[in-house]
């Protein structure tokens, strides 16, 4: 079921009240905006984190991304549950820390060697860990970063609003993203 216009979105409350920087905070976006950003991207990629090991729904969402042709970089051990579903991640062994370091390098051609990724979607991370990586990407790269985790991520370019209190809405928003791409 898609998220209807009437749905009231919760406010974009930072996952950590003290994780403040002076530069821009993420634009809190609705699922259709995320879907459009992905559709317009030349080299989108989904990066998955360790939460997929504990949250079945996230695996399902990643699976749908994959079926729509979005490649996956699996970190945090998430490759195991993805591979069980028949997905072949572009990479399984490099941690998000490595992946971010590579993404900061303009010369990096991606795990598939086809050139730098332009839009990166993050799913299933410990919020404080993802936040640091998003901060690095914000300050030192031109990459478009999108967090579709349930915590609002201030240092992404675009982020879902804070959905921690409403898992149902969160899942519906994820569905709407995958249905829209």
């Amino acid at each position: 079921m898609a998220v209807s216009k009437e749905d009231k979105y919760p406010i974009a409350r930072r996952y950590q009240i003290a994780d403040i920087q002076v530069s821009r905070e993420a634009t809190a976006v609705k699922p259709n905006v995320v879907a459009n950003l992905i559709k317009k991207a030349k080299r989108p990629v989904l990066v998955t984190g360790g939460k997929l090991l504990r949250e079945e729904k996230l695996v399902e969402v990643a699976e749908k991304f994959y079926s729509k042709g979005i490649p996956i970089i699996a970190t945090g051990g998430s490759s195991r549950v993805l591979i069980e579903k028949g997905i072949k991640p572009q990479s399984s062994v490099f941690t998000l820390h490595y992946v971010t370091q590579f993404m900061l390098d303009e010369d990096w051609k991606g795990f598939d060697g086809k050139g730098p990724y332009d839009v990166v979607i993050f799913l299933g991370f410990l919020p404080y860990y993802l936040s640091r990586m998003l901060s690095a990407l914000k300050h030192f790269s031109k990459m478009t970063t999108i967090s579709i985790d349930e915590f609002y991520q201030p240092h992404a370019k675009f982020s879902f609003t804070n959905l921690t209190a409403n898992k149902e809405l969160y899942y519906r928003m994820l569905d709407e993203v995958v249905n829209g791409i």
Binding site: R13, R14, Y15, Q16, I17, A18, D19, I20, Q21, V22, S23, G49, G50, L53, A74, T75, G76, G77, S79, R80, V81, L82, I83, E84, S91, S92, V93, F94, T95, L96, H97, Y98, T100, Q101, F102, L104, D105, W108, K109, F111, F125, L126, P127, Y128, Y129, R132, M133, S135, A136, K138, H139, F140, F151, T164, A165
Partner: protein, 805 residues
């Protein structure tokens, strides 16, 4: 008649009425034939070239927590998107400076401790007190030998290393002033320098306390000490020590032993002081309450009858917390006076009276001997008042607990301030609706009792107490065993394992050290560590990681210390001791280079670090690092060529060292055998890297044990573990395994054929199937005589010519 001599060797005939004061006698160096290396007492730039080699490969990575700077009055400055501040510094360099400052703080903490220790011990035992670490330890101070270029024989000799350390710390701290370094690489080099200082001062502190206090000297089978909340006998007065400097709490043991009253008291501790109490006590006279995250648990349980605090990592609201529970506090270290009155001139009775009566909530007492007397008397006095009936259930009644829970409105303010975003709201809601506390109880496993949530809660709910009370039975009955810290590794142990480590047959050394800011439940640490013990890696531990392992039992009710031997050997787990005992882990790596490979240590840091980087498959692991000391310890290991894996909170140190496997030009060495500069596999490909989950931790640790110098058999064993662990935890072969393959002999036996097919079909390698040989594909062929180095001077020394271009 009196005259003073400077330094030198003197023969004085017919001494009569002569008093001689000698500055320092230069000892005859009859036994130490080792030549002095190029960098004794290295100054701030002496090892810069080595650092730059590392930094060229392991590129610094910055993850800013703030993008502004307000260090001087020209600021605050917006440095976002790598802009420059008013002083000209950009965001990356500002972060590099910040990391350098953190490492300075870490080194200064261990250094302050070391200075205090040696000054005190020299006063007590004399400067000639010998450094004797037992018959199995001839290389008494591998770090000091390598860095300073001396062999300390007495406590007094340690001063020379200490003075060097203090000078270098000052220099590095100077460099962090506004308007100094311009290049982030120079800051990183300085961070490495001061972190090497950190390793030196840790060694000083631990050697001094081992010899003077007769702590275990490299003994593998030290006693097991009771660990956990449940080991406390609540029918005795309870003395709780917290911190890192055993100098102040040891006299408590001494005094009670002298009085024959050890049995009448319960002495337990938190954090490293408790490790060291166990090391001095040995016979079970003091117990381990738990890691540093247990502070508020312990205090709010009401169990202590007196608290003795010293320094580092202790809560900055300790006095407040103790006051709220009516627990008298004795602060002892000049680094943490806590606003308390100095009572060192008071008679013991007056201090005891002030604390027992509650006239004073706490005192500052920097006199160790007095602490030894005061603490037991206060504990006894307080105990007499309550007669063993402590209010130790976090809440007086169940009703109080439920009233607190029912106040929660699920506003989630707590969740957005908790370092782990623990879902306190859900736990509360579940309890409100079902009267079931299990969801709240589960939080106890992860809560570090930091108290941030309580301050954020608009209903002023005592969240920590709710969480602790919800898991009351399990927390209160938690018992376990930690093996007492053993100090250094024996030379004989190194002799046995040196070759298999360097050749690779022992797949690696995993050192689990540091603090408790874990990303998940404590038991993950055991899962990670045990995977490696079972696979016959050498596993060592220290600090809070060690005492956590001492609380986690398997189905048979055993901790790893009960289950596995304490040797420095394959399939064992060794507890080195407190934070400063981490020096023996670095020391073990250094000793391998010396004892097994005969590399000279004396003032020869770069050669030794280069040896370790290329040959010793040791990896540091800190699942929950948080202190500045942990930053310095890790960075010190990095300079020594040892990679470190940290848990996800470790990214908040802001800097990592991460190499890029896809840049072949970065991965080269000089090969002394073939006299060539050659490309090698990127092993290890990072020096500091964070992982998110235990699955990821396990795979990365195995991966980072690979070294260029592995023999075929060694590489085969390392790859076997790496590939198996990756299949088990990542569900697939690791992406990068082919880059570690030099010949078919490197391939894990069980999968050899299958892997060769993959190399051929997916990676375009050429295979001669008749001979079952790899013909084309690897970065380089295997050569049994391969003798790698990154250091030109080392190349020249062994090749007898300038390195090739």
């Amino acid at each position: 008649m009196a005259f003073e001599l400077k330094e030198g060797l003197f023969v004085v005939d017919e001494l009569k009425n002569v008093s001689i004061k000698i500055g320092k006698v230069i000892e005859e160096e009859e036994e130490w034939t080792e030549p002095m290396g190029p960098t004794p007492k290295p100054d701030i730039l002496a090892l810069r070239k080595w650092d730059m080699k590392l930094l060229e490969r392991y590129e610094p990575f910055y993850a800013p927590v703030q993008d502004f700077c307000n260090l001087c009055t020209m600021g605050p400055c917006d440095l976002s998107m790598n802009k420059r501040g008013a002083c000209g510094i950009d965001l990356k360099t500002a972060k590099a400076r910040l990391v350098t400052i953190a490492c300075c703080i870490g080194a200064a903490s261990h250094g302050g401790h070391a200075r205090h220790m040696i000054d005190h011990l020299i006063k007590e035992f004399g400067e000639d007190f010998p450094i004797d670490l037992g018959g199995d330890v001839n290389i008494e101070a591998p770090i000091i030998r390598t860095v300073i270029g001396i062999r300390p024989k007495t406590l007094g000799d340690l001063r020379e290393a200490m003075e060097w350390a203090e000078r270098e710390l000052m220099r590095v701290l100077h460099a962090t002033h506004i308007g100094n370094e311009e290049s982030l690489l120079d800051y990183e080099s300085k961070a490495m320098h001061v972190s090497m200082v950190d390793h030196v001062v840790m060694e000083i502190a631990d050697i001094a306390q081992i010899v003077a206090y007769n702590m275990p000297k490299a003994e593998p089978d030290t006693p097991l000490v009771d660990t956990g909340f449940g080991v406390i006998d609540k029918n005795k007065p309870v003395i709780v020590v917290v911190g890192h400097n055993v100098l102040y709490s040891k006299p408590v043991l001494d005094y009670l032993e002298e009085m024959g009253r050890l049995e009448d008291f319960e002495i337990a501790g938190l954090c490293c002081t408790t490790h060291d109490m166990a090391r001095v006590g040995g016979k079970g006279s003091s117990k381990i309450f738990g890691p540093i995250s247990y502070q508020l648990r312990v205090i709010r349980s009401g169990l202590p009858d007196v608290m003795v605090s010293d320094e580092q990592c202790i809560r900055a609201d300790l006095l407040e917390a103790c006051k709220a529970m009516g627990i008298p506090l004795i602060a002892t270290s000049d680094a943490a006076v806590r606003g308390l009155p100095d009572v060192s001139e008071w008679p013991v009775e007056k201090i005891v009276d002030a604390l027992v009566s509650g006239k004073l909530p706490g005192v500052f007492l920097p006199d160790p001997e007095k602490v030894g007397q005061v603490a037991p008397l206060v504990a006894e006095g307080v105990f007499k008042k309550h007669g063993g009936e402590r209010k130790y259930r976090f809440f007086a009644t169940d009703e109080d607990l439920w009233n607190e829970i029912n106040k929660c409105t699920q506003c989630m303010n707590c969740v957005f301030t908790c370092p782990h975003n623990l879902r306190i709201d859900q736990g509360m809601e579940h309890a409100q609706k079902t009267k079931d506390l299990s969801k709240l109880a589960k939080l106890e496993e992860q809560c570090i009792a930091c108290m941030k949530c309580e301050q954020a809660c608009p209903k002023s709910i005592k969240i920590i107490n709710v969480i602790m009370a919800s898991n009351f039975e399990r927390l209160y009955n938690k018992t376990g065993k930690t093996r007492v810290g053993r100090g250094p590794v024996q030379d004989t142990e190194i002799r046995n394992v040196g070759q298999p480590i360097v050749m690779g047959q022992i797949p690696g050394v995993i050192a689990a050290v540091g603090c408790i800011n874990f990303p998940d439940e404590m038991k993950s640490l055991r899962e990670i560590i045990e995977e490696f013990i079972k696979r016959r890696y050498i596993v060592v531990t220290s600090g809070c990681h060690a005492m956590d392992l001492g609380m986690i039992k398997d189905e048979d009710g055993q901790t790893v210390f009960e289950k596995y031997p304490g040797n420095f050997d394959a399939g064992c787990i060794t507890n080195m001791g407190s934070c400063v005992a981490n020096s023996h882990i670095a020391g073990a790596a250094i000793k391998i280079a010396n004892i097994f490979a005969m590399r000279p240590l004396r003032g020869n840091y770069a050669e030794i670090a280069d040896y370790v980087l290329n040959r010793v498959g040791a990896v540091g692991f800190s699942w929950g690092p948080y202190s500045h000391k942990a930053a310095a310890i890790a960075t010190g290991f990095n300079r020594l060529g040892v990679p470190v894996v940290v848990g996800p909170h470790g990214t908040k140190y802001r800097r990592a060292y991460i190499g890029k496997y896809y840049k072949p030009e970065k991965w080269w060495v000089y090969d002394i055998k073939t006299r060539k500069k050659m490309n090698i596999e990127p092993a290890p490909d990072s020096l500091l890297i964070a992982v998110e989950t235990k699955e990821e931790a396990i795979v990365q640790l195995a991966r980072l044990c690979i070294r260029p110098n592995d023999t075929s058999l060694g590489r085969q064993i390392k790859l076997t573990h790496y590939l198996e662990l990756s299949q088990k935890y990542l569900g697939t072969l690791p992406d990068d395994w082919p880059i570690y393959v030099r010949s078919e002999a490197d391939l894990p036996l069980r999968m050899k054929e299958e892997l060769m097919h993959i190399l051929e079909s997916e990676h375009g390698w050429k295979i001669d199937w008749d001979k079952k040989k790899i013909v084309e594909g690897p970065i380089r062929p295997f050569d049994a005589g391969f003798n790698p180095t990154l250091v030109e001077e080392v190349y020249e020394k062994y090749a007898g010519e300038k390195p090739p271009q």
